[in-house]
Symmetry: C2
Subunit: 664 residues, 2 copies
Amino acid sequence: MAAKDYLAEERRNPAFDLHAMTNLIYGGPEKAEKWKELSRLVAADPVFRKDDKYHLSRPEAFKRALEKVKQAYKRVHELGLDAADSRLFRVLVDELQGSDLHHGMFIPTIEGQGTEEQKAKWLPLANSYAILGCYAQTEMGHGSNVQGLETTADYDITTQEFVINSPTLTSTKWWPGGLGKFSTHAVVFARLRTKGADHGVHPFIVQLRSLDDHRSLPGITVGDIGTKFGLGAYFTVDNGLLRLDHVRVPRDQLLMRYAKVSPDGTYSKPPHAKLAYGAMVYVRAGIVEGAGHYLAKAVTIATRYNAVRRQFGGKVGLETQIIEYKTQQHRLFPLLASAYAFTFTGKWMRKLYTEVIDQLNRGDVSGLPEVHASTAGLKALTTSFTADGIEECRKLCGGNGYLMASGLPDLYCAYVPACTYEGDNYILFLQVARYLMKVASQLANGEKPSGAAQYLGDAQRLCSVQCPAKSAADFLRPEVQLEALSARAARLVIGNGMRIQGAKNFEKAIADSAVEMVRMSRAHCQQIVVSKFIEQVQGDIEGRGVRDQLVLLCNLYAVSQIEANLGDLLEVGYLKPKQASWVHEALAELLIQVRPQAVNLVDAFSFSNHYLGSALGRYDGDVYTDLYARAWKEPLNSTDVVDGYTEHLRPLIKQQVWPVHSRL
Amino acid sequence: MAAKDYLAEERRNPAFDLHAMTNLIYGGPEKAEKWKELSRLVAADPVFRKDDKYHLSRPEAFKRALEKVKQAYKRVHELGLDAADSRLFRVLVDELQGSDLHHGMFIPTIEGQGTEEQKAKWLPLANSYAILGCYAQTEMGHGSNVQGLETTADYDITTQEFVINSPTLTSTKWWPGGLGKFSTHAVVFARLRTKGADHGVHPFIVQLRSLDDHRSLPGITVGDIGTKFGLGAYFTVDNGLLRLDHVRVPRDQLLMRYAKVSPDGTYSKPPHAKLAYGAMVYVRAGIVEGAGHYLAKAVTIATRYNAVRRQFGGKVGLETQIIEYKTQQHRLFPLLASAYAFTFTGKWMRKLYTEVIDQLNRGDVSGLPEVHASTAGLKALTTSFTADGIEECRKLCGGNGYLMASGLPDLYCAYVPACTYEGDNYILFLQVARYLMKVASQLANGEKPSGAAQYLGDAQRLCSVQCPAKSAADFLRPEVQLEALSARAARLVIGNGMRIQGAKNFEKAIADSAVEMVRMSRAHCQQIVVSKFIEQVQGDIEGRGVRDQLVLLCNLYAVSQIEANLGDLLEVGYLKPKQASWVHEALAELLIQVRPQAVNLVDAFSFSNHYLGSALGRYDGDVYTDLYARAWKEPLNSTDVVDGYTEHLRPLIKQQVWPVHSRL
Ligand SMILES: Cc1cc2nc3c(=O)[nH]c(=O)nc-3n(C[C@H](O)[C@H](O)[C@H](O)COP(=O)(O)OP(=O)(O)OC[C@H]3O[C@@H](n4cnc5c(N)ncnc54)[C@H](O)[C@@H]3O)c2cc1C
Ligand SMILES: Cc1cc2nc3c(=O)[nH]c(=O)nc-3n(C[C@H](O)[C@H](O)[C@H](O)COP(=O)(O)OP(=O)(O)OC[C@H]3O[C@@H](n4cnc5c(N)ncnc54)[C@H](O)[C@@H]3O)c2cc1C
Ligand SMILES: [Ca+2]
């Protein structure tokens, strides 16, 4: 840490116990300590350097990433980290890699869909990196519509093998992370056909490359699909393409925990269609927690820089900190509040996951549609919001945000595909809509919705009541906030329900009003985030001043969401125009209250300089020295006169390309 | 062009004369022909290849860009192109370069601020590329606040020179495009000091590099500031840093058209503070026209891909085109309409520029504050909207939009800094706000506002009237649309005016309600775009069906803006909730009407495949073949087994990094 702390003034009077807040964020003092300790270890290890990240070509970056995979594996074992901590370690290494898909998709798929035998065979190999795997579902012609996949797996009873084949260009597997160069194996999704019947899409373990020399096996055409958005970011992930030319795999490489094919080719269906929900809740809880985390990274960078940067209104060095400007606050602080909100939503979802698993184990699938809908919706809500929020943080830093050295462009490019993978967000909102339309029709029959949709049980009242707020201050009351967001969602649900009611073709009716459906689903999900944040803030919270800050952030989140959706609230007739103006007032007041603690509130996330990778987000705020030093490391600066001058610029300047005194 | 046109069906029945539309877009048949002819010439020239763009390192890309600068210069002269056509040529080369700043900032600054003598000396040198220049204003510590620049220029009466100096780290010039490696000269902005008095910031021509060998001159420290957002995009622009250590320039290198320093050091002020407005209107007209153009590029790519891409609801190959989905239409078609709207706003601004120059020449500066405000605001409105719109187009293409091969990430990264340079958009909106607050106070005195603010003369009525719409169809009437947007803007102006009224400190009052001020300025600018679009659509328009399509697009633009701002319209009490639901209905109907002509409407922009640089936006729609072919050109695919395998992956797979059967 440098001698001078340019943010010392901001840190002078923390209104709360930062350690306690950090503990809360990371789930207890041990976990928080672990986070900090591993942060230091990763930062200190030269293999994990990031300083030249934006100067490497893709092949150079890819090679470096492989070195990091190796080093991470080694360090994780040397340190004896358990599964959770080794995940933290890899998060801190902060490089997207094929190994993410190995751990995040390949292994979990085997765990979730493999029989005990299959797990006993494959998991030790995968866990020890003796094989490396990926998740190959999407095809060139088939993304959102998984049921439309073209790859086929025909059962050959004579050899007891599946013959896996990509018949067309559009059946080429296209996008799977880690597929192109990294993986030796893949879970390939293909249409299972036995005895002339097509049983739809199923997962098969397919070996792609030799374990001796990593060369692709006969019948396998595999490669990388090319560069993606950003400099760095996804350089190090080999999203791949794969064509299979009648590749044979043994029968027991169909993952058979649920659906089975017997040696004689008899197919047996999975006992229940909803069995996949458990895994989905797990993955989506991770994404929602991640949203809070990555948004916090961006907000940390923007907040620190906004407190250091000065512009207008004073002598040099004494100008106004740009964090004082109301427009900056109005754009930035709701993002800070959202980072906290999503962190807490993530915690709630993780708890939900345990409950889901419990229910599944008890054979109870009744609550699953609701859980599925709210987690799908929250994935969509939080990833879209976070992607936009990261980009807004970048803009909040003016020109310097546009430098890679700010760390923000990279964060955006690495994060934004979360809006697309694990379900395109619009598709997910439309799934939520289908669920909400069922709820609407059940309400008519007097049935009570469960879980996060419970508030809809009160729909009748919510559809007729008026906002009781009589002043700006009233909007700081949680019950007022919650009723507003609930009334909005309920009215949209009931309105859409009436529109759909009695439609002959349910799917078509949903499709025709898809725009309204998405609006409704978003409203439902915003209600969930606010209600869960409020619940958790009202629970057990330790440490001096921590609850006060969280109450403030929770108010800020709720009121900023209400402001952002005033159109809906007025349109559905719940709010009156006069009340809308109080919402603005309430928000303005909250921004003033958050301002003094803004830097402390981002510090509580405890991100190391290495992890942030940002000249603007440095802990000590010494941004100009850092920007200047980084500039000189730019390869273009390796010579005073740039390569190309002699061939191309000199002839121009020396007027050798076209006679002087041209007519231009 | 490939044999098969996958979009033939979409093109079968154009409801309008595409040629006539193209002529309208480019400003007449000759200009449209020129555009097409130059498009072909650039596409056919191997020097202008773009196919390996995303595989070059920055130094490689930079060198290539210099070659393109040379070739463009040569071709422009060989073809005998005039200034306007040579600009088109460089646009079509489609690479950001130092030469953009040379043409776009360096030369215009000399033209605008130089005396006749200075112009006679410097312009021929600059026009023939005997010198290359840039515009060096921003410093590390001073961006938006130009008056705070620290670089000093002290007049030395003994030698009749200015001594230019960067006293501190924060006074380092930081960001100027073309400064780092390309330019031999710069217009440097520095505080002019003579006889002990500081006269504020003035422009000086400073030589940076030797014209013999391009080495930086004594006293000059110059270099590149490092990589920026995106792979490619700004690789080829050397945004630079510059420190000046008591660098001496002759007195006549102060650009002295307005402010002057005589040999004895006597300073004379410019006759009028508003003289810079002419140049600003010119630059901003260019930016607004550019917004329509770049948005059209993104919309072309997304529209074509959305018509080719099929997902759900049918057998392979016969699934539904994703352009049929209502959510896609609701996101995409308003962007299409906006591309047209901004194109027309740009045309209006260009006409305005001629009028401004006329007025200035007549010594009439009365209308300038209004012109300044509306052009500043339109720059802010259109660039923010376009940047967001490009990114939305990318998301509309699902996963494949995330590939560089889609062309969309590059378009975004190259475009988005337009929100920051030539005035950060928030700062510009706050300038507009200051102007509108003056209008509000003048209204109280019975003065009538001029130009684009004229509608505010009707503020009293606009503040009391109710929206007359009695059905969805009523929202298709231009007078209804215009009144809605005018009423919204007027009410915000009057509301803010009352809030500010009588405030002791005008600046502070604006700063305290900056959030409301920005909301108001945006509303004002949206009113302008809609009113200018309506005006132009009602003017002379040639060609079968062209006007009908423009009326449709104008309706779509206006109604989508009304929908996006229902919150304001309801909050200010102009609309009733029931009317809001008609707005949704009206919009839904317009989307249906635009759908059949969507591909034709993007085709009318006449972008070549080379210019679009997109596998998804190809004219013939053969996207999968193209994506697949591009993938195989990825450098990572040059070998089956990736570089790094032997060193890093093999030891893992062979279990040499850590004993097998780890505890994990
Ligand atoms: C970085 C990244 C990593 C990935 N990793 C993997 C991986 O490891 N394994 C894997 O198998 N795949 C992976 N994918 C692929 C990913 O799962 C798909 O991109 C995703 O499912 C979306 O499908 P798509 O790209 O085909 O989009 P499409 O389905 O083509 O969607 C395009 C657009 O159409 C809209 N649309 C489509 N259908 C409808 C409808 N019925 N109603 C309304 N709108 C509709 C969508 O909302 C979207 O806006 C990855 C993708 C990315 C970008
Ligand atoms: C690609 C690119 C090319 C460029 N090219 C050139 C060039 O050729 N020549 C040149 O001289 N410069 C150039 N610039 C610099 C550019 O002009 C500045 O980035 C721009 O003026 C904004 O200044 P800043 O970056 O210092 O932002 P800042 O002024 O630091 O602004 C940061 C944030 O603070 C906010 N803010 C600041 N003041 C206020 C206020 N009073 N009220 C409310 N909010 C406020 C802004 O809205 C913004 O969100 C370039 C920049 C970029 C990104
Ligand atoms: Ca290289």
